[in-house]
């Protein structure tokens, strides 16, 4: 699942740095994730994992790191490696 999330961040996060250099717990906003780009990341995550983030999860803390995103996606029941 981590690889998929990193791939999505690479494609939609518009980060000024290479996502592969980021630690699991690195702060994505400090790394340059804008609020606009984060919406595109959320959309891509919903599409890729076939999930829907409820409104209660649509807040910055849920998407602040790769580890946090993984936990959120896992909580919604997506299976790792779903293509």
């Amino acid at each position: 699942m981590t690889d998929d999330i990193r791939q999505i961040l690479n494609e939609h996060g518009r980060l000024p740095i290479d996502v592969s250099t980021l630690a699991q717990s690195a702060d994505l906003y400090q790394a340059g994730l804008s609020s606009h780009a984060s919406v595109n990341v959320m959309l891509a995550l919903e599409d890729h994992f076939d999930i829907e983030f409820p409104d209660s999860m649509l807040k910055p803390s849920v998407f602040e790191s790769i580890a946090a995103i993984e936990a959120a996606v896992g909580e919604l029941g997506a299976k790792a490696g779903v293509a």
Binding site: G32, P54, D55, S56, L58
Partner: protein, 394 residues
């Protein structure tokens, strides 16, 4: 509970007295001369109005947010610019009070503010960011020669009452290496600041806010003057919704006064021809329904915000649906307030159009026309458009 209510009511009574005795008589001069409302702010200082929201244990008045909002409404009924100065100061104070975690310097600062009734202005916009408050160019910059000391230089397109404020609340990048969105907010004291004015101030409305551009620079800042909570969180949980709530209350105040003037005009007409309902009474009825829409939106947003603020960790205030909710307040109120004022002008006709009658509403119309520009509505729509792609229950 009754002690709390008594305290809030006493404060509000004092504000209403100031609004009647100082704000209203000076409103036209403040507008005409585009001068700072010195009388109102001095009188508010005397009743410790600048520290009203600060908790009593830090030396403040301990009144509720609803009371501050009501004070903005009452001041707005007499003078939009005076109300805006008071509202903008309160936005900074309320933001600090809500984010005091691990910020002992800020507790001391609020005690100082209460003791000296210091006035805070803000510098959140910046030349070169296209009006996006969520990005900064200027950064908190270490000054190695001075040990543990920081400075900054920020080009601000507007700093309301910048020359009249004691201190400035400024958004900046966390460090010179930080990304534009990695922001903090810093309280800089007057003795640490220098302001170089970059433009003039001769606007259409809100003239008494005295808001030209400045190059703001500061030196000798300590690290403790950086609020520990990141600005993104401060903005979502406090600064943005509180701004929209207090602004909309004072816009409602201006619109309410325009309505009151229109009603006085219709009553005067009715007295001249007893037994007949003047044709303008019908327009007044239309105007009242426009005003009630504005009042409903402003009131419900305040109630919702207070409820959300009482939840543990204020969890829901950071969600997209909440961002949309308080953005909608700003858009709706900023469009509806000038609409009400224009309808009031339609009721009063030429005596409303003239600037020197008891029914003049030109200042009201001009002041409320600033509403859609302070944080431009189109920018807020852009943000909403993006959030709507993913938010579910809005």
């Amino acid at each position: 509970m009754s002690v709390l209510i008594d305290r809030d009511q006493a404060f509000l009574d004092a504000v209403v007295a100031i609004a009647d005795e100082q704000t209203a008589p000076n409103a036209d001069a403040v507008d005409r001369e585009a001068r700072f409302p010195v009388e109102t702010i001095a009188a508010l200082r005397e009743v410790e109005g600048l520290s009203a929201f600060i908790p009593t244990e830090l030396g403040g008045g301990g009144v509720a947010l609803q009371t501050i909002a009501e004070a903005c409404f009452e001041l707005g009924r007499r003078c939009g610019a005076s109300a805006m100065v008071y509202a903008m100061h309160q936005i900074q104070v309320i933001t600090m009070v809500r984010h005091l975690d691990d910020a002992p310097w800020y507790e001391d600062y609020l005690r100082l503010l209460a003791a000296e009734q210091r006035l805070i202005a803000s510098a959140t916009s910046e030349v070169g960011t296209g009006g996006d408050m969520g990005r900064s160019i200027a950064a908190v910059t270490p000054i190695p020669e001075e040990g543990e000391s920081y400075g900054f230089e920020k080009k601000a397109p507007t700093v309301s009452y910048g020359l009249h404020a004691d201190d400035l609340f400024v958004t900046l990048r966390r460090s010179p290496d930080s990304e534009p969105g990695d922001q903090v907010v810093v309280l800089a004291r007057k003795d640490q600041l220098s302001l170089e004015q970059t433009g003039t101030w001769d606007p259409l409305g809100m003239r008494g806010t005295c808001s030209p551009g400045f190059v703001v620079s500061a030196t000798g800042l300590s690290g403790e003057q950086i609020l520990p909570t990141p600005f993104s969180r401060v903005a979502a949980e406090s600064m943005v919704p509180v701004s929209h709530i207090l602004w909309s209350h004072l816009w409602l105040g201006i619109a309410t006064d325009a309505f009151d003037r229109a009603r006085a005009f219709v009553r005067a007409a009715a007295k001249q021809k007893p037994g007949e309902t003047p044709p303008t009474a019908l327009r007044l009825s239309h105007l009242m329904s426009e005003l009630s829409l504005l009042r409903a939106e402003v009131g419900s947003a305040l109630t919702e915000f207070v409820e959300l603020s009482e939840e543990p960790d204020r969890e829901r205030l950071s969600t997209m649906s909440c961002a949309l909710r308080f953005n909608n307040l700003k858009i709706a109120a900023s469009e509806q307030a000038p609409r009400v004022c224009q309808s009031a002008l339609g009721v009063c006709g030429i005596v409303g159009f003239k600037n020197d009658t008891p029914f003049s509403v030109g200042r009201h119309l001009r002041d409320t026309m600033s509403a859609c520009l302070m944080v431009a509505n189109e920018r807020i729509h852009q943000t909403n458009a993006s959030l709507l792609l993913i938010a579910k229950d809005v």
